[in-house]
């Protein structure tokens, strides 16, 4: 990594585009232990508070003519419910609370991260890897509990010619274990890359000649990031549904 001092000497960027992802303790000190309250803790807690505000307080009145908050809550509920039903099947409905929680937490963390000067928790691999590993473990356990050894049929492609099956089995096993990697890195990578690009354009805004272009580019990228924030939460959730479908019906 190029040192900041060197960049300033050469008239480069005033700040490093990755500086926004630094985790700092909120209440002074430099040491970050297991229970230190950092900005990551704060913004994750805010995401949970936002979910609670939307789903509990927003829908508390249960009005027949819904308020704005209640409309959004009902829309999100219906959206995720339909997704679970369509992609994972009717018998996956009992996992709906888990998938709904995942979707709302990720979407709220992504949107809160778009507030200027805020901290994006989902841009950290540590956060998304935990989410993805939880999905991976859940899906594997559900697969074995539901189907017993029959779950291993997921790796034995019975529709392929017999000589090909062992080779396909190896590929299937590898792709199964790569799932949590791609699942988590897709979310963190997209969010982090988008925010870093905005910061890079923000660095160009200091140069007078290109600053109008830069401001337009930041605005356009921000609009794209709002879209990406939602789509990545959607993709994370829908992939969870796909994995769940594999666990419930492992036959190819």
């Amino acid at each position: 990594m190029a040192s900041e001092a060197q960049g300033a000497e050469e008239g480069g960027l005033v700040f490093h585009p990755m500086d926004q992802f630094i985790i700092k303790p909120l209440f002074g000190g430099d040491h970050i232990g297991l229970f230190t309250i950092t900005n990551a803790t704060l913004w994750m807690a805010l995401a949970v508070v936002a979910v609670v505000a939307l789903m509990v307080i927003g829908t508390r009145r249960r009005a027949i003519v819904p308020s704005r908050g209640q409309s959004i809550g009902e829309l999100a509920y219906g959206f995720v419910y339909k997704m679970v039903e369509d992609v994972a099947g009717k018998d996956a409905i009992k996992f709906f609370p888990y998938i709904m929680t995942l979707f709302l937490f990720i979407v709220m963390a992504n949107f809160l991260g778009l507030i200027p000067m805020s901290f994006t928790t989902t841009s950290h691999f540590a956060v998304t890897v935990v989410l993805a590993l939880l999905v991976f473990v859940t899906v594997t356990v559900v697969g074995f509990v539901k189907n017993g050894a029959g779950f291993l049929g997921l790796f034995w492609v019975s529709s392929a010619p017999l000589p090909l099956r062992p080779i396909l089995a190896i590929i299937e096993v590898i792709s199964y274990f790569v799932r949590p990697v791609s699942h988590s890195i897709r979310l963190a990578g997209n969010v982090m890359a988008g925010h870093a690009v905005i910061k890079v354009f923000a660095g160009f805004a200091a140069i007078a000649v290109v600053s109008p272009v830069s401001v337009v580019a930041i605005t356009a990228m921000y609009g794209l990031e709002v879209l990406v924030a939602f789509i990545q939460a959607y993709v994370f959730t829908i992939l969870t549904c796909v994995y769940l479908k594999d666990a419930l019906h492992p036959s190819h």
Partner: protein, 74 residues
């Protein structure tokens, strides 16, 4: 010297992002071509579209990860 080589490697790894872009464009373009021929079936296939895009994108994300590792971890 080794650090500079790592930066060159990171730049080479960025080619993977371009390849993933071709893949994602292929998926979305073919979806659009199909959707315009039979618009009534398009709405039911958006989930498939996003799953396809996600899988195509995954490998681009891997190359991005390799670039990050070369930049900051090597």
């Amino acid at each position: 010297m080794e650090g500079q080589l790592a930066h060159i490697g990171a730049g080479l790894a960025a080619i993977g992002s371009g390849a993933a872009a071709i893949g994602v464009g292929n998926v979305a373009g073919n979806f659009l071509a199909g959707a315009l021929r039979n618009p009534s079936a398009a709405a039911s296939q958006t989930a498939t579209l996003f799953i396809g895009i996600a899988f195509a994108e995954a490998l681009g994300i891997f190359s991005f990860l390799v670039a990050l590792l070369l930049m900051f971890a090597v």
